[in-house]
């Protein structure tokens, strides 16, 4: 019995050891959790710390005179924390939000899947008015709150196609650039996209401590940083000229490109029909986009840089210049208007270069082209045509045709200047001669140019032999023109050869029988050239290019009005109004202006007879 009792006394050691063992296990476990790993620490931080991104103010867009074109405006996202919202009557909430109840349920489920504790957007970009209405009802729903964010506002709704869209980053953007997070906005097209990095600025961050209901309870300031605003973009556009050009093209399809010849800066840039870019922000974006995308006139299609047209008779000036430079003709060379080989118009029999341009004489330029292509004295007519074609293509491309003109404007297309191999592909090698391809001599056939190319041609003629690649940006954040903009290009034509061309272009306007007589402006001596481009069975495209004034040119431009008729009827008067407005700030030809502003398709032939 005594032995037994001592035996039992030993059991206190076993019990003590158990207590110590458990304590030791706990301490080891604590050490593992608290000291050896940051796993739990990170987990706790994810739960309690929330990083609020402070969006920087996006850079503004100004016109060349500093007038505000694109600014930032507040917009309101309705956010939901599903856990706090709990069970609600979705029908009445849908009524308040002006949403379909099924759509609301879908969105609530999506938000719940993202997080039940964190806020996610339920309705994006409410307008101030919608927000004001909603805020009266908001208190009834504990899980709903408003997040203010900044959206773009185009002050006058101008140049929307070229400024482009600023909207939410999609999956692809997020994968490409990890500086963007879900829900961030970025420039998706146009200048907004091209200058995204300069416009965006640097986001700041603020660290909060949140409680289990995601209320902000405290701030941690040591890691915070302030946002750095984006750089302002000063455009080369003249807002007033742009607004006027858009107004003149209202109700029509077409394009206007106006350049400053000495700098290559784009003064006005219109693709009609244009639209107000503000439509593409806010809750109505989807609907507005669909209606633009399905419109038969394709307003989303930027005709000014992407519309490719045959150059028509305007191209004859280029032919003349190349031939003069090569010595194939002189300004005094006359060619008989032989209408047996190619049709012509107007009363003339034999013209020199100036008059051939004024009269737009087809046989003259047919003959010029023939001489250019056959200047190589090869025995074989096919080889001769091939060599001649190569020589010709090189010189035409120096005018910027068939190139993207430096590609400084978003979406620029190159158009087409055919070369020997192009024809080899169509007809087969040694299966074509000048007679096969002669229609390019008068700007028809396979040639394709954009309105930008034509405006640039006006600038080349104004400058007498050079141009600067067209561009849209004058200054970024006070640091001047971005590098690469403003490259000067020589076209390889001596300045004196432009004299007869400019004479002819002035006569187009000043001559009482000139095709551009409807574009005459009192007190401004300037140069222009009409073009009338066939479009299958539809009415011709009306085209006019011009620069003004002839001495010391300030503006070079090109106007396209699709399916409107002859160049002199519509494009020329529109160009004259723009020139006068730009040079003098006023419009004296009120009748002319009224006729243009009132015109919509079908353009009334009777109306078109008025001066």
């Amino acid at each position: 019995m005594e032995l037994k009792s001592r035996d039992l006394e030993g059991r206190q050691k076993i019990l003590g050891a158990m207590v110590l063992g458990v304590g030791l296990i706990f301490i080891l476990r604590l050490f593992a959790m608290q000291v050896t790993t940051s796993h739990w620490k990170n987990k706790a931080e994810r739960l309690t710390e929330e990083q609020e991104t402070l969006q920087p103010a996006r850079g503004l867009c100004l016109d060349r005179h500093g007038e505000l074109m694109v600014t930032n405006a507040p917009s309101y996202d309705l956010m939901v924390v599903p856990r706090l919202l709990g069970e609600v009557d979705t029908t009445s909430l849908a009524g308040i939000l002006n949403l379909d109840p099924d759509e609301l349920v879908t969105r609530l489920n999506k938000a719940s899947r993202y997080s039940r504790y964190k806020a996610s957007p339920l309705v994006r970009q409410l307008s101030s008015r919608e927000y004001a209405q909603l805020s009266l009802e908001l208190w009834k729903y504990p899980g709903l709150s408003i997040r203010t964010r900044s959206v773009r506002q185009n002050v006058q709704g101008l140049a929307s196609q070229i400024i482009g869209e600023y909207r939410e980053a999609d999956r692809e953007d997020l994968n490409r650039d990890d500086r963007y997070q879900l829900g961030d906005y970025l420039g998706k097209s146009g200048l907004e996209a091209r200058f995204e990095h300069q416009l965006r600025g640097t986001p700041g961050v603020r660290h909060h401590l949140v409680d289990v209901r995601n209320n902000v309870r405290n701030t941690l300031t040591e890691l915070d940083s302030m946002p750095v605003p984006g750089s302002d973009l000063t455009l080369t556009l003249d807002a007033q000229l742009q607004a006027y050009a858009e107004a003149l093209l209202e109700g029509k399809r077409g394009a206007v490109v106006a350049l400053e010849p000495s700098t290559g800066e784009v003064l006005a840039f219109v693709s009609a029909p244009s639209y107000n870019g503000n439509l593409l922000t806010g809750t109505g974006r989807g609907q507005a986009y669909d209606s633009l995308a399905s419109h038969p006139w394709k307003p989303l299609y930027n005709r000014a840089v992407r519309g490719t047209y045959r150059p028509g008779s305007i191209f004859k000036m280029v032919q003349g210049l190349v031939a003069l430079e090569a010595g194939i003709i002189s300004p005094r060379t006359t060619i008989v208007c032989n209408r047996d080989i190619i049709g012509c118009h107007g009363a003339h029999t034999s013209d020199d270069l100036k008059h051939a341009v004024v009269h737009s004489c087809n046989p003259y330029f047919y003959e010029v082209m023939r001489r250019m292509l056959s200047q190589h004295d090869e025995q074989d007519k096919f080889d001769n045509a091939r060599l001649g074609m190569g020589w010709w293509t090189d010189r035409i491309k120096r005018f910027g045709f068939g190139t993207d003109l430096g590609g400084n404007l978003p979406g620029t297309r190159s158009g087409l200047v055919p070369d020997s191999s192009y024809y080899d592909n169509i007809y087969g090698r040694r299966h074509w001669t000048f007679r096969t391809i002669y229609s390019i001599s008068i700007g028809e056939g396979e040639l394709l140019t954009t309105p930008l190319h034509m405006a640039n041609l006006a600038a080349i003629v104004a400058n007498r032999g050079w141009y600067i690649e067209p561009h849209l940006v004058r200054d970024v954040g006070g640091r001047g023109k971005p590098e690469g903009l403003g490259q000067r290009r020589e076209v390889g034509i001596s300045p004196e050869h432009f004299e007869p061309i400019q004479d002819a272009m002035q006569a187009v306007i000043d001559d009482p029988t000139g095709t551009g007589r409807r574009a005459k402006l009192a007190g401004i001596a300037y140069c222009g050239k009409t073009g009338t481009v066939q479009d299958g069975s539809r009415a011709d495209h009306s085209v006019f290019m011009a620069f003004a004034p002839r001495d010391n040119p300030q503006i070079a431009l090109c106007v396209y009005v699709e399916n409107a008729g002859a160049g002199g009827e519509w494009a020329a008067p529109i160009a004259s109004l723009l020139i006068e407005r730009y040079l003098t700030g006023t419009v004296s030809q009120e009748m002319r202006e009224r006729r243009i502003l009132g015109a919509t398709y079908p353009l009334d032939p009777q109306f078109a007879q008025l001066p």
């Binding site: 206190q12 301490i27 959790m33 608290q34 000291v35 620490k41 987990k43 706790a44 409680d211």
Partner: protein
Amino acid sequence: MSARNLRLTAQLDWTTLGLVLLLVMLGWLNVVSATAEAEVVWDLTGKAGKQLIWMAVCAVLLVGLLAVEGEFFIRTSVIHYVLVLLLLMAVLVVGKKVGGARSWFGVGSFGIQPSEFAKTATALMISWFLSRDGRPWHTLATRLQSLIILGLPAGLILLQPDAGTVLVFGGFVFVLYREGLSGNVLLVGVGLLVVGVLTVLIGAGTSDYPWLGEASGYWWFLMAFASLGTLVLWLVHEATLPRNRKRIRRWGTALLVGGLAFSAGIHWGMEQVLQRHQRERIHVLLGIDVDNPDADYNIRHAKAAIGSGGLVGKGWASGPMTAYGFVPEQETDFIFCTVGEEWGFLGSALVVGLFVLLILRVLVLAERQRSQFTRIYAYAVASIMFMHFMVNIGMVLGLAPVIGIPLPFFSYGGSSLMGFTLLFGILLRLDAERFSVLR
């Protein structure tokens, strides 16, 4: 009278009292922090203020207990025990239902939990019963009667149901062990725990059976357990001396059949008795993937709070996890999360160390007694403390299932504090009288 008091202060075990007071103070600081009520402590309206009132009440109670002769507790043991049994029965009828269990008497804004006092009363009762003459442990009658004394209150508490407190009653096995219960009982207990864990782990999956197709993986386990067990039993049987074989056969078969029955019972209980959320809790604890993000919400947040404390913690009242409501029940059962987050590894290890010291100190007190009653009672106190300590801290560290029992002297709550004050007050008084006991 005065001479007696002098003797009491001289004999009182100040080490134990000091440890208890230290734990109470540290606990209260953490309650203040966890309830984020540092500013309303002194107007006594918040939880921290209420706890201050309870602390004052318990201080008075402690002084009162120390003034009572130890003989009083011994003689009234049965009365306390019966009283508590009546209260436990009454609470099942008129009790307030809180969190699915009927374990509270509501008195105004205060609530009283009779199960907290049942521990003390049962400790007194078992000490009285086993220390009486003529009750040698080795008789079957004593064993069965002891089992009934412990089982009655435990059974009533299970009806509430309050699994945590029942688990604490399981701690009395240590008292019985010290008084002569075979160590094999503890070993069998550990063995059953292993079998239970394996049952749940394997039963949670499915298996592809020949001819039968896919079914619960449990049947595979049961077959393996039975065949392997038989094989081992046979090998042991063959390896022992012939004269011991009969004993091996009898006990081995009993163990094997009992184990199989236990395993089947656990499996049946998991599938049929437990509710889905309870089953998920057990699965979470054993690391089985649960297809419900909320299932391990509590323990995940508790572990994140403790783990984020680092070496030295975030400082008192500066832990965002506990201050901002991420940890559930953070002023009561999960109070240790606050310690972990705000005081870091050093503070947590200190608190764990204090508890270990306190329990070991009580074991020392137990072994220095001449009175058998006091020794058994002290073992009961140590066992109850040990179970609370092990289950509560084990739970927040993710080592034990989520079972809601308070951390003694630390957790917010008047009944708990008062229950442990009674437990320790009686112990201190009995210990102080140890030299006046004649053998």
